[in-house]
Symmetry: C2
């Protein structure tokens, strides 16, 4: 996290780092115009949330870690903003839980796919899926539906940060455990998730990794208890309450 | 308002029109990357507000119209997002209240200044100020401080929609009546305004114009009574309450 020359103690460090990475993403052809607008929406919700990981989000991140450790074939889905904001953090999470990393774009062009895959590789993600695109998600039109047959198509647990509502819904209907990271608890993506994480992705991914490392020695029973304890509706309710009341749950 | 082929009755018409105009603004070199992120922040606040003009915003728009009609030298300030979103609406407001229109950018380049001035002229704004830049706002660094001596510098009432906090503050210290349009009632711009309007600019500017036309025959006493009746803190409180509670005041 040292790609800008600002001390980490700076009160606006996280916000400035985020801004810097998004701008660099634009220059590299990774972040789209829609991605910039989405970034702004996220900033507003995070501002209302107090720019902090609220307790219910931390619990969701722990449940996500448990799901990922229990999974047979977990996949972390990466779009333009995820790649721009957290390339190394995606790799660290994937390594901690043994997940595949797959690029998955709402506005898919070969050029952007390639730029994102390259960016991930530069940040330590060795194997990047998504370029084969030999599988489909049922219920979506052609370009939107493309995934890898041995990636998201056959995954039992998927992490889909900052995902579009239509695709989150279609993935949910495929009987996968769906872990969504979205700062708007009222969004369709958050509403259809098995585990909705209402938190900034810059805080959420590293925190799932921390939980996964902590839980790496846990038994299946312990992990299943964490999964069973988590209630998506309660988490969404707590997040909306925090946003409406100004960051306190 | 017929620049896209979607019926005005479409439930997402306003949102789609906004998106279309912002995208067109990017293509024309009017909207910056920062402008796209700011647009996203506005979308999130507007979503929480219920995408409607709440009663306190309507009252603020009426007070703004009264201030503008009482002014000796009113100016409407236009930045990239304002120009992209409401070029014709800026012209209509300026005409209704006899205001100057001045381009005023946070990231000022001659190229963007020119693109915005051209875009405004294409939409019926005949005289566009801001290119002379022979005046300064005290308390701001060089590029940020530039304004026209016979425009914003000498105005007694300024409309500054979607304005940066530093500049809103510096303008407020010049003893001008400052009318701010900003969807975030907690923003510094909204906090320092004489009249903070917490509303989408796409709804706000036409509604100020409607009020100005309605009040065109009013006496100075009537206009002054409207101005005196308006309380900025009450309006900000009502807007924040609406955002926190989901659109109801």
């Amino acid at each position: 996290m040292s790609d800008i020359e600002i001390p980490e103690s700076h009160p606006r460090y996280q916000s400035l780092l985020t801004r810097h990475r998004i701008e660099a993403g634009v220059e590299k052809g990774i972040t789209s115009n829609q991605g910039l607008i989405a970034q702004g929406r996220g900033e507003a919700f995070d501002y209302l949330l107090g720019e902090q990981t609220i307790p219910s989000a931390d619990a969701a991140e722990r449940a996500a870690a448990a799901h990922l450790l229990l999974a047979d074939h977990p996949v972390v889905s990466v779009n333009g903003n995820v790649a721009a904001l957290c390339p190394a953090e995606v790799g660290e999470l994937a390594e901690a839980v043994g997940a595949d990393v797959e690029v998955n774009l709402f506005n898919r062009t070969e050029e952007r796919m390639q730029a994102i895959a390259d960016h991930l590789r530069e940040h330590g993600v060795d194997e990047v899926k998504g370029l084969t695109a030999d599988g489909r998600i049922p219920g979506l039109d052609h370009e939107r539906a493309k995934v890898d047959a041995d990636g998201i198509r056959s995954a039992d647990v998927v992490v889909v940060p900052l995902e579009d509502g239509d695709r989150a819904e279609a993935l949910g209907e495929m009987d996968k455990v769906e872990i969504v990271v979205d700062l708007n608890p009222m969004s369709r993506s958050a509403q259809v998730a098995t585990v909705p994480i209402v938190d900034n992705i810059i805080r959420a991914l590293p925190n799932i990794t921390v939980h996964a490392e902590e839980l790496s020695g846990a038994s299946c029973e312990e992990l299943e208890a964490i999964v069973a304890d988590f209630d998506a509706d309660d988490a969404l309710g707590a997040a909306e309450k925090a946003i409406r009341s100004g960051g306190d749950e």
